[in-house]
Subunit: 146 residues, 2 copies
């Protein structure tokens, strides 16, 4: 492909990809209101779910937010029974954050909402195009292994 | 397409899409370290760029963070000359946040990094597949108009 044409395509691909990701994210998060949690709380939940048993200091570093801000987020999340503070078994002075079942339900609910949205988008789309979407996403994700 | 097969495809599409978006986001943001800005500061920058002249209260609502947290973010961003606090022309008691040239440069740098990454990913990929990526992203973004 000619360089100039490729540059144009890459520009369009990046822009359409970014906008579509953003729209799926918004749709996925609509469920957060039902669970009365805010987007930063959801980010904390995802981070804690990926790396369980973090301390508040570790979570603050991961989120690039001050400990006091993260403490506030966690207070509300603990009251809402999404997470719990537990004492480290080896060193009782260390407090770690554990994701509770309700927290995992929120994450699963958001993923389910994202799938429903994609499903809705693909209604009326030809089988060939659905196969293309599938192949493209698979190729991109595999090529992007980091 | 059979419902069961479609469900499987949608599940895979959602997962691959989510992972690929995350990887592009990480790659795009690598530039933030050069500019010495953190991801929450970048989120603030994007929000302010999309809706210029927000007040601190409005930005806090948009980001679902406490005013004190957003004030801290803005203090550092102002010292770094990414944004400036300006008095509202109609009501001098109201302070609004303006994105400065350096802030816009950071946003453009991140977009450029994202494009470079996609370009790299597509190296060695057939022209037909590149066309498929283009068509799929265009279709998804258009179908997702919200």
């Amino acid at each position: 492909m000619e360089r100039k044409i490729l540059d144009e395509k890459v520009k369009d691909i990046e822009e359409n990809f970014r906008r579509a990701s953003w729209k799926i994210k918004v749709k996925g998060r609509e469920i957060l209101e039902e669970f009365e949690i805010t987007p930063p709380q959801f980010t904390a939940l995802l981070t804690l779910n990926a790396k369980d048993n973090l301390t508040i200091g570790e979570l603050s570093s991961e989120m690039y937010l001050a400990c006091s801000t993260v403490t506030d987020l966690l207070d509300r999340m603990e009251r809402n029974e999404l997470v719990a503070r537990v004492k480290d078994e080896k060193d009782r002075r260390v407090v770690r954050i554990k994701v509770l079942d309700k927290g995992r339900n929120v994450i699963n609910g958001v993923m389910e909402n994202r799938r429903k949205y994609i499903d809705k988008i693909l209604t009326g789309v030809s089988d060939d195009m659905i196969d293309s979407v599938y192949e493209v996403m698979k190729m991109l994700n595999e090529a992007m292994e980091i």
